[in-house]
């Protein structure tokens, strides 16, 4: 296909698509116009009915809590599949050195980087736990808190280097976080069912609005998701990082060694 042909095709599709796009764009509601009845209904009903202030958490863990349970299972299944796929060919051995490109020099980390990473990782981990716990009161929640906690693990890698990082990242621990969080969430859904209520129906007291533990079962489910997401993403990073390490039986030619 020559350039002239491509330009011709481009002109034809432009001539068709631009009027269509213009037509659709003009028919859209005005920018920021509140048209969603669902959102208005949630805002009107939930604060009094569930005693919490973050409507997104209320929708995710109460109104359509069963969907979130399914999403959680999808995440666990996806991470498990990645582990099976990557680890199957590689095993779980520990090595002292990460793999590295032969022409890339080894640069020592400066003390400033190590210090900033140590402080940052601590603060970030605490912030992740805070966010997972306060999901019903302020923006954020289990997923966001879990991902933030998992990214603090990467700051440890950035500050300490591969070998110390690899020795604190235990796959069994991350797996236990992942599976344990998912188990708590499933239990939070199943226990009301066994007591004769609906799935994830709130059987705990709602508490005071704007309080840390307002929301009853939603706080439990939120924190369970936080644990599971932190474990899942930690596990995923570990598996990806392990793909770069140099296996003993197949060493990379390296001039420095």
């Amino acid at each position: 296909m020559t350039v002239t042909w491509r330009l011709g095709l481009f002109a034809i599709s432009l001539a068709v698509l631009v009027p269509a796009l213009w037509h659709v764009a003009m028919a859209l509601p005005a920018f920021g116009a509140p048209t969603e009845m669902y959102g208005a209904a949630v805002n009107a009903i939930i604060p009094a009915a569930r005693h919490i202030t973050n409507m997104v958490a209320a929708v995710n863990f109460d109104v359509r809590g069963f969907d979130t349970l399914g999403e959680e299972c999808i995440l666990v299944a996806a991470v498990t599949g990645t582990c099976v796929l990557l680890r199957g060919a590689r095993g779980e051995d520990l090595t002292a050195e990460a793999g590295h490109l032969p022409d890339r020099p080894h640069v020592e980390r400066s003390d400033a980087v190590v210090l900033v990473c140590r402080i940052g990782a601590t603060v970030l981990l605490l912030f992740g736990v805070y966010m997972a716990l306060h999901g019903t009161a302020t923006p954020g929640g289990g997923f966001q808190g879990g991902v933030i906690a998992a990214s603090s693990l990467m700051l440890i890698y950035l500050g300490e280097g591969y070998s110390p990082w690899r020795h604190v990242m235990h796959s069994w621990f991350l797996g236990a976080l992942e599976g344990g969080g998912a188990f708590i969430f499933v239990a939070a859904a199943a226990i009301p069912l066994m007591l004769g209520y609906a799935v994830l129906q709130n059987i705990l007291p709602y508490g005071q609005p704007k309080d840390l533990f307002a929301g009853g079962l939603m706080v439990v489910a939120n924190f369970a998701v936080g644990l599971s997401v932190a474990g899942s993403f930690g596990q995923l990073m570990l598996e990806f990082m392990e793909e770069t390490r140099s296996p003993e039986d197949d060493p990379i030619p390296d001039e420095e060694d």
Binding site: N54, V56, G99, H100, L101, P102, D103, M131, P139, G140, G141, F143, Q144, V147, I148, A150, S151, M154, F233, L236, M237, F240, M241, E243, T244, S246, D250, I252, P253
Partner: protein, 81 residues
């Protein structure tokens, strides 16, 4: 407020264009991370902090990291041959 939204939208357009324009995969990963950062700012400005936080954590930290690690693994495989 609408000025902030317009500024954020312009930044999203510029950073998205730069992601497409950068040809070196390593640079593109960082452009993608910057695009995620700008997008999360846009979500905050549009009063969707929950989405903004997810965007920030996933698209500026985790996705670029996985791309970087994958690129490094590919480069090491190349060097091994």
């Amino acid at each position: 407020m609408s000025l902030l939204i317009a500024a954020a939208l312009c930044l999203v357009a510029v950073s998205g264009f730069l992601v497409v324009r950068s040809r070196d995969p390593n640079r593109q990963v960082f452009a993608l991370a910057a695009n995620g950062l700008v997008l999360s700012v846009l979500f905050f400005v549009l009063q969707a902090p929950d989405v903004g936080l997810s965007e920030l954590a996933v698209n500026t930290v985790l996705t670029p990291l996985m791309f970087l690690v994958t690129l490094a693994a590919a480069a090491m495989n190349e060097a091994r041959r």
